[in-house]
């Protein structure tokens, strides 16, 4: 697909045309608390390394009402759950970073696949055109290249935007993206070479990541039973920060709430770091200590998701968990431990 360019002077006009007939969400907010929000097309922020939280909450909100009932016997269908369905409007998001877009594409395979389609996710996800913004100077916390991505990665995006001086270059990736850009005044330009050079420089600035192939090669049970997990989990607090900030964590909990007039079935983010996540009705908990819970998170990211999604790692290298973790548990260090040849058995 071709590349386009928008001159700096035409940027506001460009964003206005993106917003025609759709909601436009762009990076907003001060300092390091950047978030993707609906606002005027003249207030788009470019000087952010990444949004504070991952964009997954736009498609998979922390609390989402799925269905509800009323208990008014004088009206029809009292006490009958009604699907609240999909009320999403068409939208375009500008400024998703490639790591987060890749994260969305991983979650999308969880919520929409040949066995199951989640209507709540689908409604929002399929109606949204995702315009990414490439990272010319990745932040020190980032390691997308080490996880098989790129600061200029295209996975999960319809259009990839990148800065060319103070102008904005655009590379369309999907037909939907192509159609969107054609509606704007962006002019076609040959930027393939420029894009390639920028990407090479950005990847180089991240340094060489560790080769994680040993994890792919190792048997699942070998990784699972490796004795390092006790030490790896020792300083974990079992809070849920890593999972709430992770662009690919997608576990949820279904809850019913009632009030005087009726009730709601909602789903809320849940976290595998919590004791409550796995406790059974009997009181038995298959993940009784933090060792099992920490192992679950890293095995899920680095082994289970790759097994289920043709080798794509469940970590996209956005670095949020590394920085946000109150005790600095670093997934890169854990991955290194998982790569180590197994210690000879004690038996």
């Amino acid at each position: 697909m071709p590349e386009y360019i928008v001159k700096e002077s035409a940027l506001t006009e460009f964003f206005k045309s993106l917003a025609t007939g759709r909601r436009l969400l762009t990076p907003q907010g001060a300092g390091d608390k950047c978030k993707l929000e609906e606002t005027g097309p003249d207030k788009v922020r470019f000087d952010y390394s990444n949004t504070h939280m991952s964009p997954k909450q736009l498609f998979f909100p922390q609390n989402e009402n799925l269905m509800s009932f009323h208990n008014d016997a004088s009206k029809s269908d009292p006490f009958v759950y009604k699907d609240l369905g999909d009320k999403a409007n068409p939208a375009v998001i500008f400024g998703i970073r490639p790591c987060d877009a890749k994260g969305l594409s991983i979650s999308n395979r969880v919520f929409q696949n040949d066995r199951f389609v989640d209507p709540y996710w689908k409604g929002k996800f399929d109606k949204t055109i995702k315009v990414g913004l490439a990272c010319a100077s990745p932040s020190p916390q980032c390691f997308c290249a080490a996880m098989g991505g790129s600061p200029y990665g295209e996975a999960g995006l319809d259009v990839l935007a990148f800065r060319v001086g103070s102008d904005l270059g655009l590379k369309t990736i999907t037909p939907a993206g192509e159609e969107l850009i054609k509606q704007t005044a962006a002019s076609q330009a040959d930027l393939a070479g420029e894009l390639k050079n920028q990407e090479a420089a950005a990847v180089k600035s991240q340094g060489v990541g560790t080769d994680l192939k040993p994890i792919d090669d190792k048997d699942l049970m070998v990784l699972f039973q490796d004795p390092h997990w006790t030490a790896t989990a020792e300083n974990c607090l079992n809070c849920g920060v890593c999972t709430f900030f992770c662009p690919t964590c997608h576990c949820f909990d279904i809850q019913d709430e009632q009030s005087e007039k009726g009730g709601i079935r909602m789903r809320n983010w849940d976290t595998c770091m919590s004791w409550l996540f796995t406790v059974h009705g009997t009181g038995h908990n298959p993940r009784p200590s933090k060792t099992e819970r920490v192992r679950q998170r890293f095995m899920h990211k680095l082994k289970y998701i790759p097994l289920k999604q043709d080798g794509t790692r469940g970590c996209t290298g956005c670095g949020r968990c590394v920085v946000m973790c109150p005790v600095n548990i670093d997934i890169r260090e854990v991955a290194l431990k998982m790569c180590q040849p197994q210690a000879p058995s004690q038996a």
Binding site: N65, S68, F69, H70, K82, D83, L84, G85, K87, E257, Q258, S259, E260, K261, G262, G263, I264
Partner: protein, 148 residues
């Protein structure tokens, strides 16, 4: 506001205030019927969660009453409770619950008249505060109109 009838959750100790309420009843002392009583074995049993839950679910006031200090059936239950009450009272007042919504009293099982006076006072004061709109869980947004 004058026709506002508050809902008040009352936590009474089994050994004293609950008896006082009984005595007030059999003595035909009338008092306003705005409170629902939860009987506790001792005010020491009162968990702060109970107060929060009552307010959260829409109570306009909470009234806690137990034995006079020194008269606890379990020797020291209400002494321990008293320290907790200080904290709960201070904390809830500090975060903006009107002081008259959360009331504490000591009423022995013989003090039917004190019970009557206190019940009237509690209800009157909560009435003056008006309905509890800030320290309660909002009604669920069922969203059924949109999908009907």
């Amino acid at each position: 506001m004058s026709d506002f009838e508050p809902k008040i959750v009352a936590f009474f100790c089994n050994w004293c205030t609950y008896g006082a309420a009984d005595l007030a009843g059999v003595s035909r002392l009338d008092y306003p019927p705005n409170f629902r009583v939860v009987r506790l074995p001792c005010t020491g049993r009162l968990n702060p969660k109970f107060i929060m839950e009552a307010f959260k679910r829409g109570a306009d006031g909470v009234w806690i009453s137990g034995c006079h200090p020194g008269d606890c059936h379990y020797i020291a239950g209400n002494y321990h409770a008293r320290r907790k009450f200080v904290l709960m009272h201070q904390l809830l007042e500090s975060i903006g619950v009107e002081p008259n919504r959360l009331r504490f009293s000591w009423i022995s099982s013989a003090e039917a008249n004190k019970f009557q006076a206190m019940a009237r006072d509690v209800v009157e004061n909560v009435k003056a505060c008006g309905p509890n709109t800030t320290f309660r869980k909002e009604d669920l947004k069922l969203g059924l109109a949109e999908v009907a």
